[in-house]
Structures are given as structure tokens and as C-alpha cells.
Symmetry: C2
Subunit: 89 residues, 2 copies
């Protein structure tokens, strides 16, 4: 949690990210929750097809999308594209 | 999930929200996860003071902050303020 806050604070300082102190705190909590409970969430979601393996890539995707929302337009699109590459190939 | 997507699509159409179709999908998933697992997440977080009651208000706060990230500047600040009122009084 502390390291997420630190990274975000750096991104804000460099102008890439637009987020207040309060928003960064909330974001860090949401990222921590997503990384902790993604697999549990996957288990209760209606499965597509006969897939039984947990989809780790989709968890990474969701976390990257959480972060992307606060980025400057160009970087946001870039992170969106990057995140997409983690979706089932 | 479908209703979150529907609400967000409406917000985008009215210009209040800035999010692509893909971002709305990811947001809806993150909101669904947050609402499902907030209490579990609360349980494993280091508790502040001797609080033993689960903090539902903080869960609502986190979900509102997820949504706020995609709103237009004015509405974003407004939702931030509104969300704050759900934090322990």
C-alpha cells in the first residue's frame, strides 16, 4: 500500500497523473483489494466456456485499468493498450 | 454489472463521464469486485484502534472513488466530497 502511494505521488509530481492525495489513498486501497481478492472474484464469476484455470492475466488487466483512469490522456490510452495485452491471448 | 455499464454509458453520453467502452467494462468489474469483497478486505486490514464492527461506509466510499476517477473535473470533485461523508463520522 505504501509503495503504491509512493509511485503515484511520483507520477503526480511529474505531471503524468492527475490525482489528489485522497484519491491516491483510495486508489491504493482499491489496488490492494483487487490484487488480494481477484482470484476469489474469478471463482464466483460465471465462467466463459469450459475454462477452469484462474485467469491471472485478467486480474493484472483490472489493476492496470484502475491506475489508468488517473493518467494523462496519452499515457492513459497507452496503459489501456498495454493492459489489453494481458487479456486471454 | 449490466446496470453499472448502463448507468456509465448514460453518463458518457451526457458528457459528465469520460470513459471508453472498454474502460466502462473494466470499471463495472472493479465495482462488482469491490462490492462483493469489501467486507473480506476489511477483515484482513490492520484495524485502527479497537474497532471490531465492519466499516460499510468505507466500502461505499471506495466504490464512489472508483467511479469518480472517470468524471469531469467538477463532478469528480463533487463526488469526492460526497464520498468523504461516508467515511467514519
Amino acid at each position: 500500500h505504501e509503495s503504491i502511494v509512493e509511485v503515484c505521488t511520483g507520477l503526480v509530481r511529474s505531471g503524468v497523473m492527475n490525482a489528489s492525495r485522497v484519491e491516491i489513498e483510495a486508489l491504493a486501497n482499491n489496488i490492494a483489494m483487487a490484487t488480494t481478492f481477484w482470484l476469489n472474484f474469478e471463482q464466483i464469476r460465471p465462467q466463459i466456456g469450459s475454462k477452469t484455470e484462474p485467469d491471472l492475466g485478467r486480474g493484472i488487466y483490472q489493476v492496470m485499468m484502475l491506475l489508468a483512469a488517473y493518467l494523462r490522456e496519452g499515457e492513459r490510452q497507452h496503459l489501456n493498450d498495454l493492459a489489453e495485452s494481458y487479456l486471454n491471448p
